[in-house]
């Protein structure tokens, strides 16, 4: 299959699916809810709208090429970091660390991705931001909750900037026999992780009985977990044609990726509970950016390292 045919096939598949679920959502709203407010159906229709927006944005970014993808995910990181630090327990003495996090660390990380400086973008935030940001807070000599404050700022940068930046970094890999097709690695990752999320949601609604961590997230169940992961593994094997993986390998990669995605969602839910908020970016209707990308945050670096270690040169 050529690059062009592959692109057409995936676009046709995704848009057919979107049109089908949109039609289903509109039908449910008209017939089952008779046009009146209905929590479950309205929530589903909001999600479908978000998928349309996400599909079109990612599609346009991929069409715009490398710069488009880097800029898109820099924007995703910015929004997610903003939501994360909004509920972080920082104090006045951290102001300059926060300025550096938003206006230096974030753009510089994406600059390094853009110029393919692999050795540096893998250590910039884990080593250099880690060392320098606490210095800026310490010289303000406010020691109250110092450990919690610096830990939280670093954690926010790691999860919202470092982890998410591994999605555009997939474009930097050199895979023999897979030249000019790296954009498919991004599409594959997003489809697998989103697919697992959606099927988890559906299976939990239909069969969910045994909660995994009820204190953290009452909607995550064993039944949803099994359904979501199993679907993603099958979907991964079916979509292996767009990747350098064989169907069996694609299934294993999907398994590792969606496991990380699932537990990423769980960890970020635990953080929300700790800070007493229901959604990230609480003043946006229907939750924020970090709610949408929680799973992919944890999945992206692991997926990146698997592909880099076993497939790239």
């Amino acid at each position: 299959m050529t690059h062009f045919q592959g692109t057409l096939l995936i676009a046709a598949g995704v848009f057919t699916l979107l049109i089908a679920v949109s039609a289903l959502g509109a039908w449910l709203k008209l017939v089952r809810a008779e046009g009146s407010p209905h929590a479950l159906i309205d929530n589903m229709n909001l999600r479908i709208q978000a998928w349309w927006a996400m599909t079109i944005t990612i599609g346009l970014a991929l069409l715009a090429g490398r710069i488009g993808v880097v800029v898109l995910f820099a924007f995703v990181s910015f929004t997610a970091l903003r939501e994360f630090l909004t509920i972080a327990p920082t104090r006045r003495g951290d102001h300059q660390s926060l300025v550096m996090a938003f206006f230096v660390a974030l753009p510089f990380q994406y600059f390094l991705i853009g110029v393919e400086w692999h050795d540096f973008y893998e250590v910039f935030i884990p080593v250099y931001a880690f060392l320098f940001l606490p210095i800026l807070s310490a010289v303000k000599s406010d020691t109250r909750n110092f450990m919690e404050r610096t830990g939280t700022i670093q954690w926010g940068l790691m999860v919202t900037v470092f982890c998410i930046s591994h999605i555009p970094a997939l474009l930097n890999l050199h895979i023999p026999g897979h030249e000019h097709r790296n954009a498919f690695l991004i599409v594959f990752l997003v489809l697998i992780v989103q697919g697992a999320d959606i099927l988890h949601h559906i299976c939990s609604r239909l069969f969910g009985k045994h909660q995994i961590a009820p204190q953290v997230s009452p909607s995550k169940t064993v039944e949803g977990f099994v359904g979501g992961i199993a679907t993603a593994v099958i979907l991964g094997a079916l979509l292996s044609w767009m990747t350098p993986f064989s169907p069996g390998e694609a299934a294993l990669v999907s398994l590792a990726t969606t496991l990380m995605g699932f537990f990423g969602g769980l960890v970020l839910s635990a953080m929300k509970r700790d800070r007493g908020v229901k959604d990230w970016g609480g003043n946006i209707e229907g939750g924020g950016m970090l709610d949408r990308v929680a799973s992919v945050c944890f999945a992206a670096p692991v997926y990146f390292h698997i592909v880099r270690h076993w497939w790239s040169t």
Binding site: R82, E83, R92, H95, G276, N283
Partner: protein, 220 residues
């Protein structure tokens, strides 16, 4: 609808538009009208004060018809200190500038504010008098708002609670960080007949805290 007292000249209008957009963008705040509706009637908006950006956020959160008749009350010592600040406060925000530390002979601040109310303008003011940089949620209320309510007892006082602005631009910092802020408008109150100063100031304080707890239900 009140007559518009200020000529709309193109340059200050453009600056006002840019300031409004910039404030909304950097704070990410959407106004929540919890205790009253965003209608263009004469009011006194009183808010908690953590940052210079407080003015800008209340100003930017008002829909245009309300913004046209609303004037922030500002301290002359800060706002008259440089040409840029003077331009912003007089030409763009149409502020009511008052002398905070008076030496004999100048006009009573309350009289200046009352004169603006008599023209039909709404006011934005901060009853704590100065920015709160402490750990406390609110500083003690100054008596100015009580004297103003005595002079104009027929005007609604609307509490406004803003969260996170002190973190966005703390006192003494220049570069704001784009943390998400929130702004909520609570239920209006008026001076009651025979109410004394302490009782009224306590109600003003309670109204601000009540607006805060409806704005963040998890901490109530």
């Amino acid at each position: 609808m009140y007559p518009n007292h200020f000529m709309q000249r193109p340059v200050p209008e453009a600056v006002s538009w840019a300031l409004t957009r910039f404030t909304r963008l950097i704070t990410g705040a959407q106004a929540r009208w919890i205790g009253c509706a965003p209608v263009p009637v004469q009011r006194i908006y009183f808010g908690n004060h953590n940052s210079h950006a407080d003015f800008a956020l209340i100003w930017a959160s008002l829909p245009t018809p309300l913004r046209r008749i609303t004037r922030p009350v500002a301290g002359a010592d800060y706002w008259n200190a440089s040409p840029l600040r003077r331009y912003i406060i007089h030409e763009v925000l149409h502020g009511v500038v008052i002398e905070r530390s008076r030496e004999g002979g100048t006009v009573e601040p309350v009289d200046v504010m009352a004169a603006a109310l008599e023209r039909g303008d709404s006011l934005i003011l901060f009853p704590e008098g100065t920015r709160n940089t402490t750990e406390e949620r609110l500083l003690p209320m100054k008596s100015g708002i009580y004297h103003l309510a005595q002079k104009c007892p027929h005007i609604d006082l609307v509490p406004v609670w803003m969260d996170n602005l002190g973190r966005l631009l703390p006192k003494g910092e220049i570069v704001p960080v784009p943390l998400l802020c929130s702004i909520s408008f609570g239920a209006p109150l008026r001076l009651q007949e025979g109410e004394d100063k302490d009782a009224f100031l306590a109600r003003i304080r309670d109204a601000l805290l009540a607006t805060m707890s409806t704005a963040r239900p998890s901490e109530s």
